[in-house]
């Protein structure tokens, strides 16, 4: 599925929730289901220091698509990672580079992507894009 379609799907899912509690509970549950990064990839090299919560990201290329796995020590951060991974993983590097994260505003989680939040998510998105650039270079 294209990134835009996945993002629309997520917006639809979140529109069913009536208040912040339902949204957060959903995100926390998503955090629990996120495929954990393999322990061997939970290295300092893959660590994004977010000051408050730690984020690990691993990327690999399979059939011209980038597969991301990730983890965090904070579950709300992990829930948002789950949403981001769902949109960006298993996509062509060029599509990852063209995509944006505006949908996060629409599902009421904008505050978590604030650069002052110090949860590692802004750096994580940058990191996803960096991987996409690297793999794109390999392909061309």
């Amino acid at each position: 599925m294209a990134i835009q379609d996945i993002q629309n799907e997520i917006i639809d899912e979140f529109s069913m929730f009536e208040d912040w509690e339902e949204r957060y509970q959903y995100m926390i549950d998503l955090g629990k289901t996120l495929p954990l990064i393999e322990t061997k990839y939970k290295t300092d090299d893959n660590l994004i220091k977010g000051c408050q919560s730690k984020v690990w990201v691993h990327a690999e290329m399979k059939d011209n698509a980038v597969i991301f796995t990730a983890d965090s020590d904070a579950i709300i951060t992990k829930g948002i990672i789950a949403i981001l991974i769902r949109t960006f993983s298993n996509q062509h590097p060029k599509d990852i580079l063209d995509a944006n994260t505006d949908f996060i505003d629409e599902i009421g989680l904008k505050e978590h992507l604030s650069p002052t939040r110090a949860n590692g998510l802004v750096s994580m998105i940058k990191q996803l894009k960096m991987y996409a650039i690297a793999y794109q270079t390999q392909l061309s």
Binding site: Q52, S53, K54, I76, A118, N119
Partner: protein, 404 residues
């Protein structure tokens, strides 16, 4: 008579809502809120007598200078300094510490030792590490125990004739522990070392008497005690302030300037280069007036009640662990829920309108000691209520339910 409902009316910000809920502000150790008596002074300054101080012959400059120097005298009296020129206005605690650390660069040599405590804020570690790098002196650390108290028998062992400086906070920002600074000062002086006490956390709760303490340097920030940010002070004994070289060059701090040589101004101006935060200094004085009008004894008694109440109620939550359990502590509770990241707890509490701090509180060595990434820290001021603590406790219970 201490009346919290009456006091709360002084703080306009306490009326606001956050995420649709009444604000419960429990991040007082990071910054305190500002009463209208102080806000009025700031508005009055900019509305009526904003001018550059000292040297000005015109009326506004005279009024601003008088108010600024009156504030210095208020601060002198509050801390019981011997002279008003022992009070140096700074931008805050960190600035004050850096001023002293920088001054000691020329007084230390290789082989000299500096002692800090394991409970320090980064601002009281990094400047001394930099000082050690510049001078070749070495940094020693007073260890702490599980209750979050400094171990005095270990401190005794660290002291020697090589000890030149001891730096310790009066109260730990991460845990709220009140350190035995009287003992620390006495022992340091016995080996001829100077002592700097970081009072950023103590000044909202305690009225330190710098002469009785016989402390060499005492530093604090106005914004921790109902004053504005960007304003603080350094108290230094006259003999020390005379000995230390100026920190920054510029206007205000000179007596005479030629291209061959500059002579420096007398204390306190020697350390106050450039146009200061005039309004900040005046508002700092107003904040001290405000707190003194309520009275430190009444504040201490009330805050202790809040601390006991919060400790009791939070301890009832299964899986909640409090870090820093010294009998000597102020109204700060640092805690974690078993298996739950403090960042997650803080996020849920924010959605409920409750402001707490999460993270390492700029005291990573303390967190490393407990082997935790950080804590949730609720810190109470005299304008908080037991009802707000109930809201916090219910919020923590809700966070626990959602996150586990």
């Amino acid at each position: 008579m201490f009346n919290v409902e009456h006091i709360r009316k002084d703080f306009p910000i306490l009326n606001r809502q956050v995420n649709g809920k009444p604000l419960v502000y429990l991040d007082n150790a990071a910054t305190s809120q500002t009463p209208k008596q102080v806000i009025d002074v700031i508005v009055d300054y900019y509305s009526n007598y904003n001018a550059n101080i000292h040297r000005g012959v015109h009326r506004l400059s005279q009024e601003a200078t008088d108010a600024y120097e009156q504030a210095r005298i208020k601060i002198q009296k509050h801390f019981n300094a011997k002279f008003s020129h022992e009070i140096i206005f700074t931008a805050g605690t960190t600035h004050s510490i850096n001023l002293v650390a920088n001054g000691f660069s020329s007084l230390l040599k290789k082989g000299d030792e500096i002692i800090v405590s394991a409970l320090e804020h980064h601002s009281n570690i990094v400047p001394w590490q930099m000082l050690c790098e510049r001078t070749g002196a070495t940094l020693k650390v007073i260890p702490m125990n599980l209750e979050g108290e400094l171990i005095m028998s270990e401190y005794d062992k660290l002291l020697s004739k090589n000890t030149k400086l001891v730096f310790v906070n009066h109260i730990s920002n991460a845990l709220g522990t009140i350190n035995p600074i009287e003992y620390i000062i006495e022992k340091a002086h016995a080996v001829g070392a100077a002592v700097l006490v970081d009072g950023a956390q103590s000044c909202p709760h305690i009225k330190p008497d710098v002469q009785a303490l016989d402390v060499d340097f005492y530093v604090t920030s106005a914004h921790k005690m109902c004053g504005p940010t960007g304003q603080g002070m350094l108290y230094g004994k006259e003999e020390w302030l005379k000995k230390l070289p100026p920190y920054q060059g510029g206007g205000e701090m000179i007596a005479e300037v030629t291209f061959e040589k500059t002579t420096y101004a007398d204390l306190p101006h020697k350390f106050e280069a450039g146009t200061p935060n005039i309004c900040g200094g005046i508002a700092f004085g107003a904040a001290i007036d405000y707190i003194n009008a309520i009275g430190f004894d009444a504040i201490a008694k009330y805050e202790h009640e809040l601390l006991d109440y919060a400790t009791e109620k939070l301890s009832e939550i299964e899986g909640l662990k409090i870090y820093g359990t010294s009998k000597h502590k102020t109204s700060v509770i640092s805690f974690n829920l078993d298996g739950i990241h403090p960042y997650d707890v803080g996020t849920i509490l924010d959605k409920l309108g409750i402001a707490v701090r999460t993270g390492h509180h700029c005291a990573q060595p303390v967190m490393d000691f407990y082997k935790i990434p950080g804590t949730v820290r609720a810190s109470f001021a005299f304008y908080n209520t037991k009802e707000e603590i109930d809201t916090l406790v219910n919020g923590v219970k809700k966070a626990k339910m959602m996150l586990s």
